[in-house]
């Protein structure tokens, strides 16, 4: 169990988290409470699958979509929705536990749609600077130690990668990180976190690419 509060409870579960919304406040208040809670976690939850338990609350379809969108903005995927209320919109039956799968196809489409988008960062990212984008990120410059690049898709650095990079931050294991010089302080792909081996001088004179192969982050020379 991570956090307990009266209104919003976030619990760990297999491969994700469960967020229980017990608050009886108005929907905008509830949304704000959830957002505040999520913000407190900073980047820790990026890419995590979420099961949302709204308890006795009745949610409209638009409200569910709103929540899903907000979660995605924070880098979380709404996977399931649990509702005990007599919510007409959610096909829930009074007093019974209903597990409603949100239409996964639309979610997938959204994911793919956003990953196709790419932004170009046309400068060097310095310590304390951070780029987050749900699609691909291309940096025309260096990423210095203390800077962060977080992308839902792939990351390409046309310079030295010395900071923290997270590709596939929304859960995509196919994402890759390529850099002209790949010397990150930490490299993350989906939910894999790696760091360069201790005490080993970086090779760092050839372009390299990091990807997940058979469940492990592998770094290879970039050959095109």
């Amino acid at each position: 169990m991570i956090v307990i509060t009266e209104d919003v409870v976030i619990r760990e579960s297999q491969g994700g988290i469960i967020i229980c919304l017990n608050s009886q406040d108005s929907f905008p208040d509830l949304k704000q409470q959830l957002l505040d809670k999520l913000k407190a976690f900073d980047d820790l939850l990026i890419g995590v699958q979420v099961v949302l338990d709204v308890g006795q609350r009745k949610l409209k379809k638009t409200e569910v979509l709103e929540l899903k969108e907000m979660l995605l903005e924070q880098g979380l995927h709404l996977k399931k929705l649990i509702s005990r209320g007599k919510s007409v919109d959610l096909t829930g039956k009074g007093g019974q536990v209903e597990v409603v799968n949100t239409p996964t196809t639309t979610l997938k489409n959204q994911e793919i749609g956003s990953i196709e988008e790419t932004i170009l960062v046309k400068r060097t990212l310095r310590s304390g600077q951070r780029v987050f984008f749900p699609g691909n990120v291309v940096v025309l410059g260096d990423v210095n130690p203390g800077a962060e690049v977080i992308a839902g898709g792939n990351v390409l650095i046309m310079g030295s990668m010395r900071g923290m990079v997270h590709a596939g931050a929304l859960g995509s294991e196919d994402a890759v990180v390529a850099a002209f010089r790949l010397n990150p302080t930490q490299l993350r792909i989906a939910n894999h976190i790696t760091r360069p081996p201790e005490g080993q001088a970086s090779k760092g004179n050839e372009p390299e690419i990091a990807s997940i192969k058979s469940g492990k982050v592998i770094i290879e020379d970039l050959k095109l």
């Binding site: 400068r123 060097t124 990212l125 310095r126 310590s127 304390g128 600077q129 260096d142 210095n144 130690p145 203390g146 030295s160 010395r162």
Partner: protein
Amino acid sequence: MKGKVIVVTSGKGGVGKTTTTANLGTALTMLGRRVVMVDTDIGLRNLDVVMGLENRIVFDIVDVVAGGIKLKQALIKDKRFEGLYLLPAAQTKEKTAVSAHQMKTLCYELKKEFDFVLVDCPAGIEQGFKNAIAGADEAIVVAVPEVSSVRDADRIVGLLEAAGLRKNQLIINRIRPRMVKRGDMMDIEDMIDILSVDLLGVVPEDETVIVSTNKGEPVVIAPGSRAGEAYRRIARRINGEEVSLLPLDHSEGLVDRFRRMFKLASR
């Protein structure tokens, strides 16, 4: 023609911002320019001590921006050089006593009167830093060859760029050529590679700086000081001259030593 406001900053403390400000201010005055040094480290003022002007302070920067005191009343004339002035920080107040807008106005007023306005920035990236850079046209970033200092300098350059300051130059301070040669210290290339800003100068580690500072004298006026020579060269560069970097692999031979002793004796 209006003057230039240059902020001397570093992020990290203790890397030599105040020493750099004092010496560049003095060296620029020696080149015939009119210079004012502004200490924005409110609550921890030092520049007056380093310049040996502490006992002349009557009014300070807060009195000027918020207390209705005229600039002319607060500016302290240097005891050695004509055309060099100091606007001291307040010691009994806090950084919030001055706002960024007030600093902007102050810098604007000062550059009407002076060729160079050197702003000594406090350590950190909070209000004091924001105030110090508010009225600046250019920045000098001071860093020592240590990873922590370079990291902070990088953050500072990022913040300067975000604030719209495009001309940011680097002074590498307290470098030890022997350690660099042995590979035990970051060298100039390593630092420039990360920071990717123009190099304004390199100042070697030099004990005479400590001696001078304790006496309340900028090291640029001390004869035979390596650091002093480096600062004089940097000042000439700021003044628009093309000057080569101070050669670092300076191994003092016996002849040099005799020459220096002779020079010292003849003064």
